[in-house]
């Protein structure tokens, strides 16, 4: 007999114990499956070599012992919530600092140019508009003037002790000190 997928599905539910009504073909298939399972199943069984079982048991017991030792070496479980809380606070402080630093960079304070213009050069307007008309000396002076003006506009951020990088380093150190020396005593390690 040939059953379709739908018939096999009902058959499967019936063999799993559901109260499903089967037609004649399904019933014949169910009986055949049960008969074959009973005939073939026991032939699949095989004894386990005793030495193999002993080796597996020893390997398993050794793994259990190692797991127990690793668990015993960890910091006391009562301190773990405190350590997690400290880590969370430190992480939150670091995130807040990063956000503040990012916002500071986006809206920088006006900077004092490090290099002030050392000279002001006046060049006739018609010569500025058409550099090709300048003689070589005037062209050189024009280039110098442009470089000086450019340097004055760019300026440089001071990197001394009051600089932004230094302030971030100080803040990072404060976060690290809080995490390491916080209100919780360091864990005591025992063997």
């Amino acid at each position: 007999m040939t059953l379709d997928e739908r018939q096999y599905e009902s058959l499967g539910r019936r063999l799993d114990g559901a109260p499903v009504r089967l037609d004649a073909d399904q019933q014949a298939a169910a009986d055949e499956i049960r008969r074959l399972e009973r005939a073939i199943g026991p032939k699949l069984d095989t004894p386990v070599p005793p030495a193999a079982m002993i080796r597996v048991r020893q390997q398993m017991l050794a793994a259990i012992e190692q797991t127990a030792l690793r668990t015993a070496r960890r910091p006391h479980s009562r301190l773990r919530p405190a350590l997690y809380a400290g880590s969370a606070l430190a992480a939150a402080a670091a995130i807040a600092l990063a956000v503040w630093a990012g916002m500071s960079l986006l809206s920088p304070k006006p900077v004092t140019p490090v290099v002030e213009p050392v000279a002001t050069v006046t060049i006739p307007v018609d010569k500025l508009v058409d550099p090709a008309k300048m003689d070589p000396v005037e062209r050189q002076i024009d280039l110098l003037a442009r470089e000086v003006t450019l340097a004055a506009v760019e300026g440089q951020t001071p990197q001394g002790p009051n600089g932004l990088d230094a302030r971030i380093s100080v803040a990072e150190q404060e976060v690290q000190d809080f995490y390491l020396d916080g209100p919780f005593p360091p864990p005591v390690m025992t063997n």
């Binding site: 005939a39 073939i40 070599p49 193999a52 259990i64 797991t67």
Partner: protein, 189 residues
């Protein structure tokens, strides 16, 4: 093992009791070994896989809860191990018979010391076992797995369908055809 006893044993094992793990090995070791043996056709691989299985149980038993049956959970791990091994050995020759396990003419019994020899010799001498192995080898791998999980894992057809992510009707069709093939190959009635 009775259900209540099983629950108590699992709870003890989850708490790290080595005797509880030994009890689980005693209860399921034979079925797991049989499953691995029929799936790989190798006593060496079967022992190797059983050992690895128990190590995984030590690591993963904590993740088992009482909501699902224990056997399907256990044999799902075993089935995944077989699948992984098959993938790793994809380029290797197919499943070999017990008598050719060593790859040379030396009988398998000579490879295993002491009291194992008597068991191995008996298995090798069993014509039915060799015939069954050859018949199993001829089955499509998925069908073979389904039949083995049905027998050794005592899984319902619905659980098998869930494991293989295929419709229940498909599982029944494959199992029915597979069992008939084994019957024909082994001369069963």
């Amino acid at each position: 093992m009775e259900l209540e006893q099983l629950r108590a044993t699992i709870a003890s094992a989850q708490a790290g009791d080595a005797r509880a793990y030994a009890a689980l090995l005693d209860a399921y070791g034979k079925r797991l070994y049989g499953y691995f043996l029929r799936a790989t056709n190798s006593h060496h691989d079967a022992e190797d896989l059983l050992g690895e299985m128990m190590l995984r149980l030590v690591k993963r038993l904590g993740s088992y809860d009482d909501r699902g049956r224990f056997e399907p959970w256990l044999f799902r791990i075993a089935a995944n191990m077989i699948r992984d091994r098959i993938r790793r050995n994809k380029s290797s020759p197919g499943a070999i018979s017990l008598s050719a396990e060593t790859g040379d003419s030396a009988p398998l019994g000579d490879q295993i010391a002491g009291e194992d020899i008597a068991v191995e010799a008996e298995l090798l001498a069993s014509e039915a076992s060799v015939e069954l192995n050859e018949a199993m080898e001829k089955l499509e791998p998925v069908t073979r797995q389904m039949i083995l999980l049905r027998h050794f894992g005592e899984m319902s057809y619905k659980e098998i369908a869930g494991l293989f992510a295929c419709p229940l009707g498909t599982v029944l069709a494959k199992v029915h055809r597979g069992l008939k093939s084994l019957r024909n190959l082994m001369g069963e009635r």
